[in-house]
Symmetry: C2
Subunit: 249 residues, 2 copies
């Protein structure tokens, strides 16, 4: 999908009104830093499932995107047409961090559910190095976090370990505040992401339900035994030990 950046279609975001709230990449920065970021953001726009991709693998990596609402998946498609989901991006997440050292996107991105994204031209991202060391550090930290997560998940685990880790991570990232979570993506997408067949994801969830670990109803899960999930997911090692790295002045 070609991104229409004609002035009439532009809409500057107002971070104060953003549905992503404090989960945003900019969460907690000072007002003047937020202004720098706001200047870097070109516009925001809706993205819908089935309406074509936000961008496709091989496209020039001209922009970085920031999820305001919804869920975006990034994926590759091999020569046989097999889709391989690399990440799910939730509100506050940046899309395209894997392209910061490339001229072209290594993966495609499209909406999993109706979503909204901010658009940040990459030359403005590059300019942040000079304008805002704080935001540059944030960017580096986000990329490092994604790297850490990707390395954790790239290990060899059983279907149960994978699914348990996925549910815990999603619950954490979606931050519902209670023990329920609504998975925006299909079982097929979950399986694809976790390197499991759709049926295997179903079977594991059913098994966990029989064990009283959770209750599944359509796309909504209720976690009944979080400790057991943690126990299962332990080998994956998705520790959440993030710090806000202080900028040495």
């Amino acid at each position: 999908m070609a991104f229409d950046s004609t002035p009439s279609n532009r809409c500057k975001p107002n971070c104060a009104m953003c549905p992503a709230g404090s989960r945003c990449f900019t969460g907690g920065v000072s007002a003047d830093q937020l202004n720098i970021w706001n200047d870097a953001v070109l516009t925001h726009m809706p993205v819908f499932p089935g309406n074509g991709a936000l961008f496709s693998a091989g496209d020039a990596a001209d922009n970085v995107y920031l999820v305001r609402a919804g869920c975006i998946k990034s994926f590759t498609v091999d020569q046989d047409g097999n889709e391989r989901i690399r990440s799910f991006h939730l509100p506050g997440d940046l899309i395209g961090l894997d392209a910061l050292a490339r001229s072209h996107h290594p993966s495609s991105a499209s909406a999993v559910e109706p979503s909204q994204v901010c658009v940040i031209p990459r030359d403005r991202i590059a300019a942040l190095a000079l304008q805002s060391p704080v935001l540059m550090q944030r960017l580096l930290q986000r990329t490092s976090r994604e790297l850490s997560t990707a390395l954790s998940l790239s290990g060899d685990y059983t279907a149960e370990q994978r699914v348990a880790a996925f549910i815990l991570t999603m619950h954490d990232r979606l931050a519902s505040g209670n023990d329920k979570l609504r998975l925006p993506m299909t079982r097929r997408d979950i399986g694809n992401y976790l390197r499991l067949a759709t049926e295997t994801v179903c079977r594991v969830i059913t098994r966990l339900e029989h064990q009283g670990v959770l209750v599944s109803r359509d796309k909504t899960l209720k976690i009944e035994n979080r400790d057991r999930l943690r126990e299962l997911a332990e080998p994956v090692g998705l520790v959440e030990d993030y710090e806000e790295l202080a900028l040495a002045a």
Copy 2:
């Protein structure tokens, strides 16, 4: 292994004499930027296999390391003692990019063969944001590259696809200049990294040898049919489309 940073043991590196050469993180930067980097580097030191880890998972992430020579693996160990290799670091690579948003290392690191590393205190890395936008961008780009690689490899592929992609990548990274490459790590380590049993790695290499794709002799491989390897590795999608991102002034 506790890192001995007593003055008597310190040895400032001389980038001009570095065996990593242009593959280094600093490759191609201007003389004054190189000086800033040199000031950030605390010392360099040897690391040997079987002599304990360079650092262990859970250690305070006080330093980042840069491989001068040899090969370092980073890995986790789960509760049952299973080692899971996350990355191999070759000359010029930074170690600890997955800890830039953490206070503690998520993984351990130890030498695969006799190696040398430069030690860079993390507070000096943080200070680069203010001192050297260029180096900060480099750091971001390296992290982004590692992210891209990790995401590629985290997909679901056959043993053959995995091994083919691994051989091609190592050949590329080791930059021998001919069609031969010496793998510094054991079959066991390769298998662990690729989520394959040692035996499976052996069998795949044997199969590729029978097909005339390569010749294997101990740790040395000779690539006979690079196109076939590329064909096999295609789904993994390890495109090497890196650019040197120009710093918008």
